[in-house]
């Protein structure tokens, strides 16, 4: 009985052909990643759509460099592709992804430090292009655009002066929209530590944006 059942299941799975992502909206990240591990490339496409910009934004805000952000985003997703079969689901896909991204951040900072290059935005904020220049199709009116550019520059300046640990928490929570619990998981620290770092980051930003009025 069991014997016959096993044969039928094997044939059924083989003929069905593993896929498919029919309704991507309802499928969770973890399910998509597992589907990819089973050979469904479309599932990875959906994950890339969901997280590509977020990871890119994380690197961009962290290093303030478009090129580095592109390289590191590519490297992060290549690692995600390679590690698909090893994913056990101990944590959410987002946590898994940002852990890889963060490790790459740390490696890059160390590598740059050993080469004598500045480790963060801190010393290069003045040279950073406004974000709007990085974004395609920015269609703000001239006045508003000028103000927006000023504000962006002020925020980027303030972000660049934050200590690394406060900046990564701020980016992950404010820009990437991760919850404090998830950030604590990614960084491997206590949730209260994350909140405390976030508080300090907000105080610094508040000071930097004090005189800013639209």
């Amino acid at each position: 009985m069991i014997y016959v059942l096993v044969i039928f299941i094997a044939i059924f799975i083989k003929r069905k052909g593993f896929s498919s992502v029919s309704n991507s909206g309802t499928i969770t990240d973890d399910q998509l990643y597992r589907l990819f591990a089973e050979g469904d490339a479309k599932a990875f496409g959906i994950l890339l759509d969901r997280y590509g910009n977020k990871v890119f934004g994380y690197f961009f805000h962290y290093f303030g460099d478009n090129e580095i952000a592109e390289d590191l985003t590519q490297e992060t997703f290549l690692r995600v592709i390679t590690a698909a079969t090893d994913f056990r689901g101990d944590c959410s896909f987002a946590t898994f992804l940002f852990r890889i991204a963060r490790n790459l951040c740390i490696d890059t900072v160390r590598a740059r430090a050993s080469r004598g290059v500045t480790s963060s935005l801190e010393d290069q904020v003045d040279d950073v292009r406004p974000l709007s220049e990085v974004i395609k199709g920015n269609s703000l009116e001239p006045d508003r655009k000028a103000f927006s550019d000023e504000l962006q520059k002020a925020i980027e300046n303030a972000l660049g002066h934050l200590p690394d640990e406060q900046r990564e928490v701020f980016i992950l929570r404010e820009i990437e929209g991760l919850r404090f619990r998830e950030i604590a998981d990614i960084l491997g620290v206590n949730e209260n530590t994350v909140k405390s770092r976030m508080n300090y980051a907000l105080i610094s930003l508040r000071k930097a944006l004090m005189g800013f009025r639209p």
């Binding site: 094997a10 490339a41 910009n53 592709i81 974004i135």
Partner: protein, 302 residues
């Protein structure tokens, strides 16, 4: 929630990491303390300023490059998975594997039946021992029999048991059957041979060696041997189960089985060893009452 707690949780409120109940509590406090409300307002403004930052977009060429890699890797995963399934399918459909499975199932069923039979045999044996002990108890409780009734019994019971009764009548202390059997065997070997002449005639009319020596016949001896063997087996069976019961912590159950084994009377050496072992177990479990009982049983053997 107190005012101080509310101050530490402003960040949770602004970032929406509070439950419905907590939000209500926080808002109640916020309405009473304007400094908290002001703090919340500032944080909200900072957040809205940050939200004006346009989200950076990952260039399409990077996405395409990543997708090419993903497709290659997915093909690899698919092939590996398909390969495994094809192998499984082939394996399960091969006649050799099917025959092996049939043999394994048949063996499994066979073993199960044997085990079941063995268990049923155990139950039957236990019932038989129970009955035997009950009969022994009954016969021990009976008043001294008259020669007539003994004679009547002699005609009904096997020779080995009739010898027991004879011994009883002669007030000779009864020996265990095994010891008696050894004596009988030696008697057969050492008995002096009488010189007798026999008339020529039919073979059936000649007296056998046993008849001449006054020993029980071969069939009577084999019956006695069988009984002795059976009693020994029964006792060993009880001892084995009693030992298991004691090891499993069922001291009372073990004790009952030992009592039955002692009632059968064989074999005393093994009984002594296992009873000492049971005493140790009972001592380690702190069951003084059972220890005393076991000691009593040990004395019974002596």
């Amino acid at each position: 929630m107190t005012q101080e707690e509310a101050k530490t949780r402003i960040i949770d409120y602004v970032y929406g990491e509070m439950s419905e109940l907590e939000i209500k509590e926080f808002e109640t406090i916020m309405n009473s303390y304007p400094e908290i409300a002001r703090e919340v307002d500032i944080l909200r403004k900072i957040r809205s300023a940050i939200n004006t930052l346009p989200a950076p977009e990952l260039p399409q060429r990077i996405k395409s490059r990543l997708m090419v890699n993903a497709v290659k890797r997915a093909e690899l995963h698919k092939k590996r998975r398909e390969g495994l399934l094809t192998w499984l399918e082939k394996l399960f459909l091969s006649p050799a594997f099917a025959s092996a499975m049939v043999i394994v199932v048949a063996l499994g069923v066979g073993v199960h039946i044997i085990m079941l039979d063995h268990r049923l045999g155990d139950i039957e044996r236990y019932d038989r021992i129970e009955k035997k002990i009950a009969v022994q108890d009954k016969s021990d409780a009976q008043p001294e029999q008259t020669p007539l009734s003994v004679e009547a019994e002699k005609t009904m019971i096997p020779p080995a048991q009739s010898q027991k009764l004879e011994a009883k009548q002669k007030k000779v202390p009864m020996k265990p059957q095994l010891e008696r059997k050894v004596e009988e065997d030696t008697a057969v070997v050492s008995a002096p041979k009488k010189k007798t002449s026999y008339p020529v005639g039919k073979a059936e009319s000649y007296p056998t060696l046993e008849m001449e020596s006054g020993l029980p016949s071969a069939s009577a001896r084999s019956t006695a041997d069988n009984i002795a063997r059976e009693e020994k087996q029964d006792a060993m069976y009880l001892i084995r189960h009693a030992r298991t019961a004691v090891k499993m912590g069922d001291l009372q159950g073990g004790l009952n089985l030992y009592r039955k084994a002692i009632a059968l009377g064989l074999p005393s050496q093994q009984l002594r060893i296992v009873l000492k072992e049971a005493i140790d177990v009972a001592k380690s479990l702190g069951r003084k009452d059972i220890v005393d009982e076991f000691i009593k049983q040990l004395d019974n053997i002596k």
